[in-house]
Symmetry: C2
Subunit: 305 residues, 2 copies
């Protein structure tokens, strides 16, 4: 990775993050949108706290860069990216609840149930999830109806029973019955992998890519999703809570098996390098146009927080 390449990636990541935050901040204002009776101020504040928290906005970046690969309209990609970030944020808000991971901090700030209360966090999460589907279904983009239902189907699958919430459920069980390696891989592919894969596939759907290209983006998404979780597990072992803005060492404390606890840190680093290589290879047919997506794969593997 050249310094220049890394720098362009970092700048673009920040620009994309700023765009999606501006849109989310408008969308989640207190002002009722058309067709709404009212927007309860405290609920909206809890939703904004859960979403506008200085996240890296990696998933929105992946949607927008993947869509750009196929020349898709930028405004449209931005709205789908915002919807996906609502789903990601809702999952964090619920995951932080006392009955789940019981986290007080996220990115150095109090979690939604600590800043507001548990009921507000439950409802804010529910509302964010619902709003994500409303955003995609709305006719304010240039997407035709078929494209919108394709996105909704893919997002619901990635975030529901067979995807994210299913993976979270398996994760809770994993604290009692330790899964074997295949079980861990399946759990992680569902819990964090499915939504990252969706982000990349969504760009191809928005850009009306052919089946072959859509499959390529999905494969790229699977590789970086796996890398993301592996890097996360590594960080849980090696990073300081200060750098993460949240508690670390929680997996070990919970007796939770990860690929890192099974195979060790050195093995995990080799695996990560292999996944980055796989991601780069699958993007090779797109040439220079995919440079930032390749950078994203390296960024995910190398991240420190």
């Amino acid at each position: 990775m050249t310094d220049q390449g890394f720098s362009l990636f970092q700048i673009t990541l920040q620009q994309r993050a700023a765009s999606v935050e501006t849109l989310l901040s408008e969308l989640l204002s207190d002002q009722p949108h058309s067709g709404e009776i009212s927007r309860p101020a405290r609920l909206m504040a809890a939703m904004r706290h859960g979403v506008l928290n200085g996240g890296k906005r990696l998933r929105p970046f992946l949607v927008m860069e993947s869509a750009a690969l196929f020349g898709a309209d930028n405004f449209t990609a931005l709205r789908i990216a915002a919807a996906l970030e609502c789903v990601h944020s809702y999952s964090l808000v619920h995951d932080d609840l006392p009955a789940m991971d019981d986290d007080d901090l996220r990115r150095g700030q109090p979690t939604v149930h600590r800043k507001f209360d548990e009921a507000a966090a439950i409802l804010a999460g529910d509302s964010l999830l619902t709003y994500a589907f409303e955003l995609i279904a709305s006719d304010e983009t240039e997407l035709d109806a078929q494209c919108r239902v394709t996105l909704i189907t893919a997002l619901a699958r990635a975030s529901g029973i067979g995807g994210m919430t299913g993976g979270q459920a398996l994760d809770l069980e994993a604290e009692k019955i330790k899964p074997d390696e295949a079980g861990i891989i399946r759990l992680q592919a569902m819990k964090t992998g499915a939504l990252i894969r969706f982000a990349c596939e969504a760009g191809a759907i928005i850009g009306r890519a052919g089946t072959k290209d859509r499959d390529r983006l999905a494969e790229y998404g699977s590789a970086i999703g796996l890398a993301f979780q592996l890097a996360d597990d590594l960080l849980d072992v090696t990073a300081e809570a200060r750098d993460m803005g949240k508690a670390t060492g929680k997996d070990a404390a919970a007796g939770k098996a990860t690929l890192v606890s099974l195979h060790g840190v050195e093995w995990a680093k080799l695996q990560l390098a292999g996944l980055v290589e796989q991601a780069e290879e699958v993007l090779a047919p797109f040439g220079e146009k995919a440079a930032l997506l390749k950078d994203a794969a390296r960024f995910i593997a190398d991240r420190r927080n």
Copy 2:
């Protein structure tokens, strides 16, 4: 209401309920559906417990009868009805949580967090909500894509910020700052009214009704939604916990203002009669075809549990 009319309504309500339960039981099986990696058994059990609980299935009935009014395909209406019941059920599962209404019983059975645990109840609710949108977006019905996005938009609005979850948020605040009469009406229109109204409007959407007829069904839905909440508030004051299968007198205990606490039981009964009349009048143009929907309005106003 004649005995015969009541009986036909009761039989139809039960038949519709049986159909939607059979479909929900198939949809929420442990067997992974196409495109899903896995279905965690405990999560599915928690979802089934939250959904297959002997509910009256009033909302599915309203979808199916409204759709039948416009000659819509029965299988299609049934799937949309099942999706709506998933949304209704998720809201009950989350509403019963200790941080929300803290209920141990629903229809005489332990609530999901009592039978499983809080984490399972949170995830089961999240998964049911997500699954509802997947069901509507799926291409297994004869609905075209435009019709599906119209339904998704309407459902998301009815159940999100400006609808159900917004109403729940207002309801939580109402325990601290007592709303005035207009505030109570708005709260109830959002919390319970919006989803009942959606049920009726959905039938018109599925049946490709014209704007005028769709508005009629929405107005009918608003009237019976208001009646539903008024009857609920009355029951909270007058019914026995035994009949309700859940705790009663909770509103008064929580110091929660309702239209019944403001205006008294006799006023509420008169209001209910007026709402039934309004519902019947708005359906008048449909003649005999709408007989069961008129029965439904009376059933809602007269219900004992």
